[in-house]
């Protein structure tokens, strides 16, 4: 918590210049009129989104609605075509320097884990701290073991990803991202590739992270998780943010017709 408030204090002055007067701190993410096209297909259609520090957002919506594209634009894994994206006050303007700075502030967990299969669990976790942050091997190992313990998997450190279950792999992926000490965590359908009995262990890990005050954006269909953890639900359809509401309100009384049919279809 102290780390978060410290950041607010140091960034406050810079943001003061172009922030709206009522806004006291730099939002973790600010998107203004963001567009993303794939050929003729519009994946993001004038998306506006503001995420405060420490906020937990669940992005949901039907398949192809642009949810993944949305969070993949936040760390510039996808380039947005138009509009403004600020992450912790840094503008994502396709400049290398800014992209690097934003990627240092964000961690990402993928649907397909994307662990490096030729490295052990420990090597997966220490690679970035050592090469991108210049840590020594010993420092990186301590850090990695700390986070592997946090995701309750330290005993698997010397195994290869292929020797672990899907749930274990995804927890390693979370630990690997945390080793870069991100301020924002992006989850792109983290449980969609898992067998049902492994979904829980990953969601538990994410809940713990949320309790620690991490800013989180999760694309997920786990509505139980959304209800319990999210501060806000962002519902997308056809590349647009159709509705944003607290989980309570969203699940009880979705404003849009599209959200209502969506909820009818996924909640059995």
């Amino acid at each position: 918590m102290s780390e978060i408030s410290m950041n607010t204090a140091t960034n406050g002055g810079i943001e003061g210049v172009n922030a709206q007067p009522q806004l006291r701190e730099v939002p973790a993410v600010r998107m203004e009129a963001v567009y993303k096209h794939y050929g003729d297909f519009t994946a993001l259609n004038e998306v506006d989104l503001k995420v405060a520090k420490g906020e937990k957002i669940v992005v949901c919506g039907p398949s192809g609605s642009g949810k993944s594209t949305l969070i993949r634009c936040i760390n510039h894994i996808e380039k947005h075509d138009e509009g403004l994206i600020y992450v912790n006050g840094i503008e994502l303007d396709h400049q290398r320097k800014n992209i690097d700075a934003v990627r240092r502030d964000t961690g990402m967990v993928f649907q397909s884990f994307n662990l490096f299969p030729h490295m052990t669990v420990l090597e997966n976790c220490t690679l970035a701290p050592m090469t991108a942050n210049g840590m020594t091997k010993a420092e990186a190992k301590d850090l990695a073991m700390h986070f592997l313990a946090k995701v309750r998997i330290p005993e698997q450190a010397d195994k290869f990803p292929g020797q672990l279950s899907g749930g274990q792999q995804q927890r390693v992926a979370i630990a690997r991202a945390l080793c870069m000490r991100p301020k924002i965590m992006l989850f792109d359908e983290p449980t969609s590739a898992l067998d049902p009995e492994m979904v829980k262990e990953v969601l538990e890990t994410m809940k713990k992270l949320a309790e620690d005050g991490m800013t989180m954006l999760c694309v997920t269909h786990e509505m139980g998780f959304a209800r319990e953890v999210a501060d806000r639900i962002v519902f997308m359809n056809d590349g647009k943010v159709v509705e944003q509401a607290a989980p309570e309100a969203f699940f009880k009384q979705p404003k849009s017709e599209r959200a209502r049919t969506f909820l009818d279809q996924i909640i059995h």
């Binding site: 894994i77 993928f110 090469t131 290869f160 292929g162």
Partner: protein, 243 residues
């Protein structure tokens, strides 16, 4: 003369003159692999370039050298180029021909290796703020290399035998020296039996090396087949990205 003399064959096998030819064959192969890999990597990089001129040039190179016999390439370099005033020593001619030809095959192997590494691996590296160089050296290259080993092994096996074509431009490697012995003593079966034995030994040694390499670089993928709990998330990221 209607008999085969095993003793003569064994004698040819231990013939010092022939053994030196074996060393030339090994030398040609090793040099052509190293040269071919370096040139082939470069051509593969050009081929994967988003610049149409560069990838087009690489494509034409590959099309040309894979589409013509190595024998013609060697003969043109050895006896055709002097007509244009370009003249190399015999051994240089053989090396140039073998490297240019091998590079075309290796470029395609290198390229397919890199293409087979999933996009998610690169995305994960970006998300972790790894530099492009670290991403290449620690993430993409090792995985691509692992995928390249089997086709690379085949290509090197073919190359080892293809060096015999250099005999046509009078490089005194194993084949040429066998011909020379044969013309001197006219014990055709005996001489070629010795040469055949050498080629078999060389290809078998390479097979063993290749198996060791596959085992060494495949240590993590051996475990992959035992994976439990993941519903094989193949290429889901790219599907999702284009959705």
């Amino acid at each position: 003369m209607s008999h085969f003399s095993p003793t003569a064959a064994v004698n040819y096998f231990f013939n010092y003159f022939l053994m030196k030819g074996v060393l030339v064959t090994i030398g040609l192969t090793v040099a052509a692999v190293i040269g071919g890999l370096i040139l082939g990597m470069g051509i593969a990089l050009l081929r994967m370039s988003s610049n149409p001129a560069l990838s087009g040039a690489a494509r034409i190179y590959i099309w040309f050298f894979r589409g013509t016999p190595l024998l013609i390439q060697l003969v043109v370099i050895y006896s055709g180029l002097p007509q244009l005033g370009i003249k190399f020593s015999v051994i240089t001619c053989a090396l140039v021909g073998l490297i240019l030809n091998e590079a075309a095959y290796l470029a395609e192997i290198v390229r397919s290796g890199f293409m087979a590494v999933s996009a998610g691996q690169r995305e994960a590296a970006w998300a972790l703020s790894l530099s492009p160089w670290t991403t290449f050296r620690r993430v993409t290259l090792p995985q691509a290399f692992q995928l390249m080993i089997p086709p690379l092994g085949n290509s090197i096996n073919s190359l080892l035998k293809a060096t015999s074509l250099a005999s046509v431009i009078s490089v005194e490697e194993l084949m040429r020296r066998s011909d020379m012995l044969m013309q001197e003593h006219f014990q055709i079966l005996e001489v070629y039996a010795a040469a055949t034995a050498y080629y078999l030994i060389l290809t078998s040694v390479w097979d063993a090396v290749q198996r060791r390499l596959e085992k060494h670089f495949g240590r993590s993928s051996a475990a992959k087949s035992r994976r439990a709990g993941a519903r094989v998330p193949v290429a889901q990221t790219s599907v999702e990205a284009s959705a």
